[in-house]
């Protein structure tokens, strides 16, 4: 179990691209280690290899820990096992939906490999499943673009990964 006190502090660090989610909600905090010399090390994992927000996230975590009195915290990136949207907290998924982004479906249920397969994504606005995929890629690496065929609203889907 990770130190609850540290996790509470980290829950104030927002994802710069989806600011409604904290780094804890996102599930990218792999571990928190208190070393014998009193220093603190936070292990984080990238969502996508090329995610340009990772450097900023590491800096923001460092700043938040410094502001809370932790001297010289160390942020280490861990690649394996690879991050999956299944690590996103249930609370995080609710926050996403309220923010207008459809949360990722559970991985075992979808992540279809068949060509032209479309996942039935629920519209975060009117809850209809009558939606269509506009594009597999969206405004950031973690999202795809959808449109609701009932309320007509376009929306982002935090794609399962």
């Amino acid at each position: 179990m990770m130190d609850k006190k540290i996790l509470d502090i980290l829950s104030h660090v927002a994802d710069p691209e989806v600011p409604v989610l904290s780094v804890v909600d996102l599930g990218i905090i792999r571990d928190v280690v208190s070393h014998a010399d009193g220093s603190l090390e936070v292990l984080i994992t990238p969502t996508y290899t090329g995610c340009p927000a990772m450097d900023m996230i590491a800096t923001n975590i460092r700043m938040e820990l410094l502001a809370n009195g932790y001297q010289q915290p160390k942020i280490t990136t861990v690649l394996s096992p690879a991050w999956t949207t299944d690590w996103m907290s249930e609370e995080g998924k609710l926050k996403l939906k309220e923010y207008g982004i459809a949360p990722p479906l559970p991985k075992q249920q979808v992540c279809k490999q068949e060509l032209f397969a479309e996942e039935a994504i629920q519209c975060p606005r009117c809850n209809s499943h009558h939606t269509r995929r506009v594009s597999e890629f969206g405004s950031t690496a973690c999202k795809a673009q959808y449109q609701c065929l009932d309320c007509k609203e376009p929306f982002d889907y935090f794609k399962c990964h």
Binding site: Y48, T49, G50, L79, S80, P81, A82, F116, E136
Partner: protein, 250 residues
């Protein structure tokens, strides 16, 4: 320093970097906004993968070498990417086909490398494999959409096949460092990936109503540093800033 390991990792990085750079040339020029965003997101994934490999290569090399010095300060002959990834973008069809050929290859290769005894290569590939699988799905769909589209799009795909097919054979002909990587148990036998690769091409081409070429001649040399004329132009643009203002930072 482990010379073959360094070269092997640099080769993986260069393939990702050069294809990522080529795709990024579409930024602001895509046929429609959504696909402009798609191809540049793929760039981002590939350049991210290249960064991971370069960071590891720099660690192997030691000394002053960094991910940046490897990307920005090597000359053409030191690049180990295959010829396929440096080919010009051409039209959207050619870019799509190049992506399909390469994602197909990377998917097969990374799914082997994620079990490599080299923990760092395995971790990078485990992560990258998810992205590459998504690229393969996206590019497969586009090959089908264009191949089985209008007369015009079909003709353009035929043209793209004519231009690119000769560069695909190189993927499966091991360079010295790939042979050594196989010998040491680090990497898979890439000659054995060819069948799976061809099967995937046949499957997608069939649905796309495109013929699978039978020509076997392969242009080679890229993986040994003997590149087509195009790579020099890519590097001139990519390396301009670091060459003109050495060590400048954001």
């Amino acid at each position: 320093m482990n010379e073959y390991l360094f070269e092997y990792v640099v080769h993986l990085a260069d393939d990702a970097l050069i294809l990522g750079h080529r795709n990024s040339e579409w930024c602001g020029h895509g046929p429609v906004l959504e696909q402009d965003i798609a191809i540049t997101n793929i760039s981002l994934d590939l350049i991210g993968q290249a960064r991971n490999f370069f960071q590891y290569a720099a660690e192997i090399k030691g000394g002053d070498t960094t991910e940046d010095s490897l990307a920005y300060l090597r000359d053409v002959r030191e690049f180990r990417n295959c010829l396929l990834v440096e080919q010009q973008n051409g039209d959207w069809g050619k870019t799509i086909l190049r992506q399909f050929f390469m994602s197909n290859y990377q998917q097969l290769l990374y799914s082997r490398l994620e079990n490599s005894f080299d923990r760092q290569i395995a971790a990078i590939c485990e992560k990258a494999l998810k992205e590459v699988t998504y690229h393969l799905k996206w590019s497969s769909e586009w090959v089908i959409r264009l191949g089985d589209g209008t007369d015009e799009s079909h003709a353009r795909m035929i043209n793209a096949i004519d231009e690119l097919w000769t560069y695909t054979g190189e993927l499966f002909i091991p360079a010295g460092y790939e042979a050594k990587a196989l010998e040491s148990g680090l990497a898979p036998d890439i000659t054995a990936l060819k069948n799976d690769w061809l099967n995937r091409v046949a499957l997608v081409f069939e649905e796309a109503k495109l013929p699978v070429p039978t020509a076997g001649f392969a242009q080679t040399g890229g993986k040994q540093g003997m590149h087509t004329e195009y790579l020099g132009y890519i590097l001139a643009e990519m390396q301009y800033l670091q060459r003109t203002y050495p060590a400048s930072k954001w």
